[in-house]
């Protein structure tokens, strides 16, 4: 039993990692009160940039760094429209998805069929020798380990630091934050851009570490799963990790089930994660989540104008 389970769980972590990065990036953005629905486009651009830079320089780290920068730059458009111009955030986010999808398709044509060495695996000393857990959690590549750190870093940042408190206040009540002298727009810009960069890194993980090749539309809807996961996680980084690995696990076992020739139709298995999300959404909305440390930022999606009354 264990020798079936351990590989599946290990695969769950690996295939959950790109979704985890995207979810964490979006959580960071949304905590400031900005909603970015451009995740799918950002991930695709990240995947493309990561691949092409790694291909031409030979360094996967440069590829990932470039993906972060491209992700942040692309998000600047969204940030400008939403934060400075007060545009509708849903529309702007959808536009970002379309731009990212189209641009990555167009630019990526010449890379189809190419491969790279990509990111190497390495087992973490000591931790990797823990029975089972070592195989599941600590025998991957560096980006997986960095994602673990990021999960705890964000959790610590939101709940323990002054800057995190300020960020939450800006997402929950920009008017109040503004009145105590915080710069609402600047903070929103900063976290929207960083968040966008992290989302793109999730895409880069797909091409640089997971498949080690470029394929058109290769993220296959993972950006949208991440959007749903943010809500599933109630904006909590630890729950985001749980959700991402759950999706990763479903994906991994579905591949294995297919390989084993199961009679359950594949589309039904593919639906599973979404059904889960809907169930969780129902549970969240039944239970009143008001006033939790982690929860939907109250001003999510609303632009802030100082001189308008509420």
């Amino acid at each position: 039993m264990l020798d079936i389970l351990v590989p599946i769980l290990s695969a769950a972590v690996r295939s959950g990692t790109p979704i985890l990065y995207a979810t964490l990036g979006e959580i960071l953005t949304e905590k400031s009160g900005v909603m970015n629905l451009g995740l799918e486009g950002l991930m695709l651009m990240g995947a493309f940039t990561g691949f092409s830079v790694t291909f031409s320089t030979g360094s996967p780290w440069l590829g990932i760094l470039a993906a972060f920068i491209v992700g942040a730059l692309l998000t600047t458009v969204h940030a400008f429209l939403c934060i400075t111009m007060g545009a509708n955030q849903v529309v702007s986010g959808l536009a970002l998805t379309m731009i990212g999808t189209g641009a990555s398709s167009l630019l990526g044509r010449s890379y189809i069929g190419e491969t790279i060495d990509g990111l190497e695996k390495f087992t973490v000393p000591i931790l990797g020798r823990i029975p089972f857990l070592g195989d599941i959690l600590f025998s991957h590549d560096a980006m997986v380990y960095i994602s673990y750190i990021l999960v705890f870093l964000l959790w610590w940042f939101f709940s323990m630091t002054r800057e995190g408190l300020n960020l939450r206040a800006i997402g929950d009540s920009p008017r109040t934050a503004d009145s105590v002298g915080l710069n609402v727009k600047r903070v929103r810009y900063i976290y929207t851009l960083i968040g966008g960069g992290i989302v793109a890194v999730g895409g880069a993980y797909m091409s640089v570490a997971y498949t080690k090749m470029w394929g058109d539309l290769m993220t296959a809807g993972r950006g949208w799963i991440a959007v749903a996961l943010v809500i599933f996680a109630i904006w909590h980084p630890l729950r985001a990790a749980f959700g991402a690995y759950l999706f990763g696990g479903v994906e991994a076992s579905q591949l294995r089930l297919q390989a084993a020739g199961t009679t359950i139709p594949t589309p039904l298995l593919l639906m599973l994660p979404y059904v889960l999300t809907i169930i969780v959404l129902v549970i969240i909305s039944v239970r009143k989540g008001k006033g939790l440390l982690f929860g939907a930022p109250a001003s999510l999606g609303q632009p802030f104008y100082r001189e308008e009354r509420e």
Binding site: M160, T161, R162, E163, L165, N166, R168, A169, D172, S173, R175, T176, A177, D178, S179, V180, G181, L182, N183, K290, G291, L292, G295, A298, R306, E307, E308, R309, E310
Partner: protein, 517 residues
């Protein structure tokens, strides 16, 4: 007088400040000076521009014209941050607190001297110290949304005291405080004053202004109509300056004998939002031509009682009837159609829709009725006319009919809502704090309107924190404590404030005077 001006240079100097909102001049060339060691009251009717002027001083609004200097340094604030740096602290009329966060988190929000890694224990004990020192008790761990309005006001005041500001602006800080809390706040303000700080105090309660301030500046329709020393004026004179004409403080109540019973409720039990029993076995009757007052300390079930009586909250048990019509379990619309009107305390939540304009808000209780609508279409021409009559009849001061009502000043929101509720001939009016935050003239106006409705034949249930108001308006007065009536007084004006206070604290009225409703 005891105006101690430590220098002849003002702490704050505002000159010819102009601020318009879509063409409407909220501040029309206002000049204003504050000295250190001075409490300077700012008076004016609702919409006179007090909050606007103070928002400019605290960096929230950028003026269209005029000069501003603090400590003799010319200032050009472009954000609240600039004003905070210049030493200005403000307690806002509509609290600036993050509802989802705790008291301690709100207190330190935006403070740059707090370490990046939050020393929670130290912060909390510091907050406890300060709140004890100033006699404003709060639980640092409570979340803002769990607190009553009064408690939130305390947090807002403490939050400003926590930041060491040289200029303190208090925008209607006493509107929701209990008398004891107000006394403590005034002690604090006097202490601040003796430390050489400058305090700007906004209130509609003239007694407080006379008691606390050294000087008074009166605004009228966005203009400064004069600054006077408090010792050299009377309440009457101040009211006259505010309104422009003489104001009488007394309302005359006609003697009427109550008619037939209108709304009657039997053995009501009502649950509050936290799942507790807020109204416990209350029966009451509101008759034609009478005002039934409800006295009590906030949070003793008044809101839930009123919501149940207008159909907004389900009864756990008991019944409600208007004449012969059974209303138990009926929808709010049935209550409205039956002629029951509601003036809630919570103007921007239950009363009006902040993002809709004046026209739209004026038809909220009749949008489904002919002639406002026919079938699925609304006849806007009729709506515009209807809204215009309300605005004229109730003197609602609004930049335009198409202004979203969130932009109206507090008093004007109240007048608009009152106008809407009283635009036809309601049978029963349930009014909660109807004069809360209103200026002298508007308060008088509202009281007169309620008395006029009473003369016309309406039955009125009046909930208020203001005992004087209750005593001068009510025909009968019920005192509520923990969801139960401690008794109903038939001749409230003949009862002493002390014995009503005892009832509010939970003493039952002795049975001889008691009359079961």
């Amino acid at each position: 007088m005891n105006v101690r001006m430590s220098s002849d240079r003002p702490l704050v100097k505002m000159q010819s400040i102009v601020k318009s909102f879509s063409g409407f001049k909220a501040n029309d060339s206002i000049s204003f000076e504050l000295f250190s060691g001075e409490v300077h009251a700012l008076l004016g009717e609702n919409g006179a521009g007090k909050t606007t002027l103070m928002n400019i001083l605290s960096g929230l609004y950028i003026p269209d014209g005029g000069n501003l200097s603090v400590n003799d340094i010319e200032q050009d604030f472009s954000s609240p941050r600039d004003a905070i740096h210049a030493g200005i602290g403000m307690v806002h009329q509509h609290f600036m607190l993050v509802p989802s966060q705790t008291v301690w988190e709100n207190m330190i929000l935006g403070l740059s001297e707090v370490p990046q890694f939050l020393p929670k224990k130290k912060i909390q004990s510091r907050i406890r110290e300060i709140s004890e020192h100033y006699g404003l008790s709060v639980d640092p761990h409570a979340r803002i949304w769990q607190l009553s309005i009064g408690e939130q006001q305390r947090v807002a005041i403490l939050k400003m005291l926590f930041r060491d500001a040289g200029v303190l602006i208090l925008d209607e800080p006493t509107a929701v405080l209990t008398p004891q809390e107000t006394v403590k706040l005034f002690l604090t303000v006097r202490q601040m004053k003796s430390e050489g700080k400058g305090i700007i105090f906004i209130s509609h309660k003239l007694d407080e202004v006379m008691d606390l301030s050294d000087r008074v500046t009166v605004l009228r329709k966005g203009k400064n109509v004069g600054t006077v020393k408090t010792g050299e004026v009377t309440k009457e004179k101040l009211a006259e300056m505010m309104v422009g004409t003489k104001v009488s403080f007394s309302v005359s109540k006609q003697k009427l004998s109550p008619g037939r019973p209108l709304l009657s409720a039997e053995k009501m039990k009502v649950i509050n939002d936290r799942g507790l029993c807020a109204v416990n076995d209350i029966s009451l009757e509101i008759k034609e031509n009478e005002i039934l007052g409800i006295a009590g300390i906030a949070g003793n079930g008044q809101t839930e009682l009123c919501e149940a009586l207008v159909g907004l909250r389900n009864l756990k048990s008991g019944s409600i009837r208007l004449g012969n019509k059974i209303l138990t379990k009926a929808s709010p619309k049935t209550f409205i159609s039956a002629g029951i009107r509601y003036i809630p305390a919570d103007r921007k939540g239950t009363g009006l829709i902040p993002n809709m304009d004046v026209n739209e808000n004026s038809i909220l209780k009749r949008y489904w009725q002919v002639p406002v609508s026919r079938g699925i279409t609304i006849n806007w021409k009729i709506v515009f006319e209807f809204a215009k009559t309300i605005v004229e009849k109730f003197h609602v001061d609004t930049p335009s009919m198409l202004t979203p009502v969130r932009n109206l000043s507090g008093g004007n929101l109240q007048k608009l809502m009152l106008g809407r509720e009283l635009s036809d001939t309601p049978a029963v009016i349930v009014a909660v704090h109807p004069t809360w935050g209103l200026d002298v003239a508007a308060t008088n106006f509202v009281r007169k309107v309620l008395l006029k409705e009473r003369e016309r034949g309406a039955g009125i249930l009046l909930v208020s924190e203001d005992l004087d108001e209750l005593l001068s308006l009510s025909d009968r007065l019920a005192v509520i404590h923990k969801g139960q009536f401690m008794g109903i007084l038939n001749e409230p004006s003949g009862v002493s404030a002390e014995s009503i206070g005892m009832m509010m604290a939970g003493t039952k009225l002795d049975p001889e005077n008691e009359v079961c409703a």
